[in-house]
């Protein structure tokens, strides 16, 4: 299955498969979880990050149980504060 990933406002090393605009498409076997996808992105761990699947917020506690489907769009961003 193909999953579209959009990383917003990430800093540091760009994960493999993600372009300059923070976007990439990945192929996975069926059954891939959201937490599995996020772990593969090797995001920085010195701040939390939030995730949406098809625009819906997925709490960290539900990432393990969220099974991705073909065509899903995953958006990842830090919980920034404005100014």
């Amino acid at each position: 299955m193909r999953i579209a990933v959009h990383l917003i406002s990430q800093v540091g090393k760009r994960p493999a498969g993600i372009d300059d605009n923070g976007q990439g498409t990945f192929e996975f076997p069926d059954g891939k979880t959201l937490s599995g996808l996020l772990a593969g992105l090797s995001l920085r761990t010195d701040e939390p990050f939030m995730a949406l699947v098809n625009g819906q917020a997925i709490p960290p506690s539900e990432r393990d149980s969220t099974i991705l489907m073909d065509g899903d769009e995953v958006t990842v961003f830090p919980p920034m504060e404005g100014g």
Binding site: H6, P48, G55, F77, P79, E81, G82
Partner: protein, 609 residues
């Protein structure tokens, strides 16, 4: 100890300057800046007074960590009764001005009464003078004022905080701008300065500051810096600024658009950070040129920008074809999506005019958006606007409004009333996206439930810097747990805002990191628990001020649109803000009655009885 131990008191009516000792008992209890300034204001004015009358006072307060060398320790606050809200106003600014006031040997400066003629004030160490502004800088822009004061006093190191014509004419959201593009922005503190006939305050100091325990202070500040500097949030703020929030709120569906008719903006890609950093065709330069830091700050979230030299807004205006203070998230939200404008250069120009004329870009932009909605429904017409098509999405109308409002011309004077008064005047108060009369920052609160509670209960009206429910709000669109998150973050922020460091340091620091620096600078054996309880005390003191000013639980609310009209898209699609569910729990956690008043027990526990 890192308090200087003395304050400047200026009686503008009599034209007198007095040095007086800082009330050290209050300083040890309320720390500085927001807490200490509020304590002084609460003790010296009647909260029911007219905020634009001589009975109001205007307090410039530094914190004990201001100008000590602590990372981000360059902050000061302006505390007064706000003319936008009639509530307590406390606006926090960075830049260099506050640090130089402290380095001149002063913790605070209090302006009282009203000068019979326009004046400005110069503070050069011990030397404090009131000087005539009439025929000199009265009527000038903020930028001209800074240049003229420096030239006249032959001191390029003078740090100037000034009002523009917006403040002189008492636009309700006029702000005080220091160092050209840093501002004590919210609640109309610039209008209070204008009401007192004070154009500017210029500071220079080289007296320095002392801390209680030098070795402990160096150890604590070094450890804190080592934690802050490599942090991802610092790197992001440095490289992209707060502007990068726009992609987040757009994706999440909490980006106020077209006066909150929408929560996502089709033109987001034209006004986001990527657009600002992309070289343009005309001159090969990007809008966003580089970053800028305040005193002692290693984050550097501020932006330096240029406007496309071919853009219509600056045709025949060579003064804007140079580097200017750039867009932050709150300014781009208010000047672009909120008004439906997808023109980055127009937003940069309008932001520059806010700095130049001394206007809060949040309230200005949201007031223009409210005016656009009035125009959209026919409540105002070309007759009122003087022929301007004040339509959502019009970059030309936005740029016109910035100039007209900043210089108090024509319908600009109406926009300067703020969204609440403007929409009431034209029969549609439901178009005001305000709490307690203060316009929304850049978060629609149907997808961000906790932020809605934060806006509703903020003592200075709608504000994104009074509570910090971001992490939970971006994970859960629910009401459970929000009251506790909002209450605890309000207390933490109230204390943090009293120290002299920037809230953004909190991206990397825990309370214990800040308390270690604070204790080394002022002594007293501070603990994290004591620090947080101090924040709670400050919050309750502000609440008491507002109660005496006439506010009740009925004012802890949100616009109808947030409570009754479901979000049209995004993660919160179909949701409204469930304030009525969260508010009773919040009052209970605060130790307040169901009518939102602190109980006698709560006031006794906090030493406020």
């Amino acid at each position: 100890m890192s308090w200087q131990g003395k304050i400047i008191r200026i009686d503008l009516g009599k034209g007198t300057v007095k040095s007086e000792p800082l009330n050290m008992a209050w300083a040890r209890t309320y720390i500085g800046q927001r807490g200490l300034g509020t304590k002084y204001l609460m003790s010296e004015i009647d909260p029911a007074c007219d905020p634009l009358s001589p009975a109001n006072k205007l307090i410039f307060a530094t914190g004990p960590l201001t100008a000590t060398g602590a990372s981000t320790g360059g902050r000061y606050s302006v505390i007064t009764k706000g003319p936008l809200t009639n509530a307590i106003a406390c606006s926090n600014s960075g830049g260099q001005f506050g640090a130089y006031l402290k380095l001149a040997g002063w913790d605070m400066l209090i302006l009282e009464g009203k000068s019979p003629k326009p004046v400005y004030i110069v503070v050069e160490n011990e030397d404090v003078r009131i000087l005539p502004a009439d025929g000199f800088i009265w009527g000038k822009t903020v930028w001209e004022t800074e240049d003229m004061i420096r030239a006249k006093h032959q001191n390029p190191e003078l740090r100037v905080a000034a009002i523009g014509v917006a403040g002189e004419t008492m636009a309700r959201f006029a702000c005080i701008v220091n160092d050209r593009d840093r501002a004590a922005g919210r609640s109309g503190v610039g209008a209070v300065m204008g009401s007192k006939n004070v154009k500017a305050i210029a500071t220079f100091g080289n007296i320095g500051t002392k801390v209680a325990d030098g070795k402990a202070f160096l150890k604590a500040t070094r450890a804190a810096m080592d934690k802050l500097n490599p942090h991802a949030a610092r790197e992001r703020l440095s490289k992209r600024g707060t502007h990068s929030m726009l992609d987040v709120t757009h994706a999440y569906g909490s980006l106020p658009t077209n006066n909150c008719r929408a929560v996502q903006f089709d033109g987001a890609g034209k006004v986001n950070v990527a657009a600002a950093q992309k070289p343009r065709r005309s001159d090969g330069r990007a809008s966003s040129q580089t970053n800028k830091a305040c005193f002692a700050c290693s984050i550097g979230c501020g932006r330096i920008a240029t406007i496309d030299p071919e853009h219509f807004s600056i045709k025949d205006k060579p003064q804007y074809k140079t580097s200017l203070g750039g867009l932050e998230y709150e300014s781009i939200y208010a000047l672009a999506p909120m008004c439906g404008v997808d023109d980055l250069d127009a937003a940069t120009y309008a932001s520059a005019l806010c700095n130049e004329h001394g206007m809060d870009p949040i309230s200005f932009g949201a007031s223009v958006a409210a005016a656009m909605e009035l125009f959209d429904v026919g409540a105002i017409t070309l007759k009122e606007t003087g022929g301007i098509e004040l339509k959502f999405g019009s970059a030309e109308a936005l740029c016109w409004a910035a100039e007209a409002t900043g210089t108090a011309q024509g319908f600009g004077k109406e926009i300067g009333l703020g969204a609440k008064r403007l929409t009431e005047k034209y029969g549609h108060p439901e178009f005001a996206m305000c709490v307690k009369g203060q316009e929304f920052p850049g978060y629609d609160v149907r997808a961000m439930q906790g932020m809605g509670l934060g806006y509703a209960t903020s003592n200075r009206g709608a504000c994104h810097l009074r509570a910090s429910p971001f992490v939970d709000d971006f994970a859960h669109i629910r009401t459970e747990g929000k009251a506790e998150i909002v209450k605890k973050s309000q207390d933490r922020i109230a204390a943090w805002d009293s120290t002299g460091v920037c809230l953004f340091s909190g991206n990397a620091w825990d309370v214990s990191d800040l308390v270690a620096q604070l204790d080394a600078s002022i002594g007293g054996g501070w603990t994290a628990e004591q620090f947080l309880e101090t924040g709670e005390k400050i919050w309750n003191m502000e609440r008491l001020f507002n109660m005496k000013a006439g506010f009740t639980a009925a004012d802890d609310t949100l616009p109808k649109r947030m409570l009754e009209t479901p979000a049209p898209s995004g993660a919160g699609k179909g949701k409204v803000n469930e304030l009525k569910v969260m508010l009773p729990e919040y009052y209970e956690l605060r130790g307040w009655t169901k009518d939102g008043e602190p109980t006698t027990q709560t006031l006794s526990r906090l030493g406020l009885a």
